[in-house]
Structure formats: C-alpha cells, structure tokens
C-alpha cells in the first residue's frame, strides 16, 4: 500500500482507530528490537503503547519496564545500561525534549553512547491541549539545534513501514554511536 493509499484509508477511520493502528505499529517496531529495559514517561497518546509494555504482553520475564520521573534521568539510566551491554529503549512525549537536552549533550552524545528514543508527537492537528504546541511544534527545531539525529513517522510513511523503520533506527543509533530519536505521530497527522 502506498502512502497516499494508506492516508486515504485512514481518512475513513476515527481518531481512535488511527491511534490504535499506529500504536500497534510502534509496539511491533519496539518488540522487534527486543529491548531488555523499557523506560517510559506518561503520555495520553502513548497509553496503548505503554499499556503493552507495563502490564500487557510486552511485560515479559527478563524485561524491566519502569517510569522515569524526568526524561534526563532516563537518558542517564540508559547510558549506564548501554555501557553495561543492555538494550534500553526510551518512550516519552515530545514536550519532554527540553528536559533532556543537557544530559543528552553532555553524556550520550559526547561519550558516543547509542540511545533509541521513541517520542510521541503532540501539538498538531487533533490536539486538545491549548498550550502544548508551544513546545511540541518546536521539537524538530530543538533537536536540530542540538545536533540530535531524528526521523519522523507520520501520515507520509505507510503505517505498514513503521515497525521496520523503528527497528532500523535502533540499528542506525548503534552503527553511528549516538542517540537517535524516532518521532511518531499517533494523532492522525
């Protein structure tokens, strides 16, 4: 299915159906990586994804799933996990990018420690919070200014490709020895 065909198909779907389909793709992508540690921070748009790992099929023996109080704390924990040879993935929302930049640019990036962050988009079409766009719509600019490599998954990429793209982002982070962010729009745009 092409991106245009997929978008057309999504046109007939409710927001909830789009959320479910895209969330399933994100789950599949993260599961393909087979992380042994999943660090997350609460997000209403990520609730399906997080539920899978917190108390769903993704909460399996041998995998630690836990909340990070702040994104920067998660970056540092992931750095330690990476040094130890573990396979951590971070999942959070784009309005937390500002919180983590110092840790990312003084630890993961200069120490050449790979890190995969799956980051949900907010603040676009379909947004229900009147102010979150003030930071969320600047997510790409913030990451660009910080020199952090990111990829975007939204309506322009067929949902059927999302899982593979997330898995490739994991490999890319390790191949290039640096953090890589995958920005996922689960809200329909």
């Amino acid at each position: 299915m092409t991106g245009a065909e997929e978008a057309a198909e999504e046109t007939g779907e409710t927001d909830q159906q789009v959320l479910q389909r895209r969330s399933a793709a994100v789950i599949a992508g993260i599961e393909a990586i087979d992380p042994d540690h999943v660090l997350h921070l609460a997000s209403s748009t990520l609730k399906i994804v997080l539920a899978h790992f917190i108390d769903g099929p993704g909460a399996r023996p041998g995998r630690r799933v836990f909340a990070m109080p702040r994104e920067e704390e998660g970056v540092a924990i992931a750095a330690g996990l990476e040094l130890a040879g573990a396979r951590p993935v971070l999942i959070f929302q784009d309005n937390g990018i500002g919180n983590l930049l110092t840790a990312l640019l003084t630890l993961s990036q200069p120490y050449h420690l790979p890190l995969l962050a799956v980051v949900s988009r907010r603040g676009g079409l379909g947004e229900y919070n009147s102010m979150i766009h003030t930071i969320s719509e600047r997510a790409e600019a913030l990451l660009d200014a910080a020199g952090v490599r990111w990829f975007q998954l939204d309506v322009r990429t067929p949902v059927g490709r999302w899982a593979a793209e997330i898995e490739r982002a994991w490999a890319f982070a390790r191949a290039t020895h640096r953090p890589v962010f995958v920005l996922v729009n689960l809200m329909g745009s």
Binding site: R64, A79, G80, A84, A86, A103, Y111, H112
Partner: protein, 194 residues
C-alpha cells in the same frame, strides 16, 4: 566542621573497592580521584552531566545484574549534583538494584564554582533515601565511621547510601581533558574483561 577531606574519603573508597565499577561525579570528585588513584579502568569519569551520576550508576547496576564483574556498582556523587537530580532516589528505591552503593560527599557547597552554598545543610539524605525505599543508609562524619560504613555498604544488600560530611579542603588537581568517547570505550573494555 567536618573532619574528613574529600581526597581522604576517595582514597578509602578506592582502596576498599579497587575492582568495582565506579561512576565519578564531575568536578572535584573526578579530578581528586584521578589525583589520588590515577586513571583506572574501573572508574567511569563524568566530565559534566551534573545531576546524573546516580542515574548512570543505576543503569549500570541494572545492566550488570547477574553478570560480571561481580560485586557492587558504586556512584560517588556530590551534594550539589545529587540535588540536581534528586528524583533518582525514588527510582532507585522503586527498582531496588541490590548491587548499587552511592556515596554522597557532602561539603555543603558547589566547590568547583566558587563555594556557593547548596541546600544540603537542611536535608537528611539518608532519611530521604530510606523513605524512598532504599535498603540502607548511613550518615558519616569521622574517619572511623567512614571505614565502618564503607565495609557495611560493600557487604550489605543494596541499594544503600552513605552520606559523608566532608570539609571544603581541595587537593591541587589539574583539569582532566580526555576525550569522553575514549573514556567510555576504556570503561566498556574494562567491563568486558572483568
């Protein structure tokens, strides 16, 4: 006034745990450990990332769970840096990594930047850690207490925290300007071979 100088505390910890993975907080802790112990493969030097020393050590302790090298994973943190990332005490208390030992070297000031006061004088770090679910915590003011607390921390199921009240005396130590990518690779190499 505290009896203990930072350099003396660092010597005690290094002598007690020469083969444990150690994460050194930025600034004086890292520089003075390098001055008293030399550059060692088991020590990961944080050149900046203030507030993240314990988080980094937590990740190490989780990642090394059930794997070599055996023994404790140690973080040596300052009071100012810990206060910048105090939420990690709750994460550690929740996850309870049994290998994690955290030494908080508390001089009450941001010494590397001119001695501006921190809020530590009004904070009972040991009580906070215990309230967060840590398995043990002690407060240390003398050399004898430090020796006893270090032996206890290295033989007790973690996570445990040892707060060490130290003076503001500084050991002359130059800047450490190594490439962080080399520091990380050296530390990984040490982990792979121990």
């Amino acid at each position: 006034m505290a009896d203990l100088d930072r350099a003396d505390v660092l010597r005690v910890i290094d002598a007690a745990a020469p083969d444990s993975p150690v994460v050194l907080s930025l600034g004086g802790i890292a520089r003075e450990m390098l001055a008293v112990a030399g550059r060692k493969g088991n020590q990961f030097v944080s050149l900046d990332a203030m507030g993240q020393t314990v988080s980094l050590a937590l990740g190490l302790a989780l990642g090394l769970d059930g794997r070599a090298p055996a023994g404790k994973v140690i973080a040596i943190e300052g009071d100012g840096s810990l206060l910048m990332g105090l939420s990690v005490l709750s994460t550690v208390g929740h996850l309870k990594p049994d290998r994690l030992v955290v030494f908080v070297l508390d001089n009450g000031v941001y010494l590397a930047t001119g001695g501006q006061p921190t809020a530590s004088a009004d904070i009972d770090f040991a009580a906070v850690a215990l309230a967060c679910g840590w398995r043990g915590a002690r407060d240390v003011r003398t050399a004898d207490e430090l020796t006893a607390a270090t032996a206890w921390a290295l033989t007790t199921e973690g996570p445990v925290l040892v707060r060490v009240r130290i003076s503001t005396a500084q050991l002359p130590a130059g800047y450490f300007l190594e490439d962080p990518a080399i520091l990380a690779e050296d530390f990984r190499r040490w982990l792979r071979t121990h």
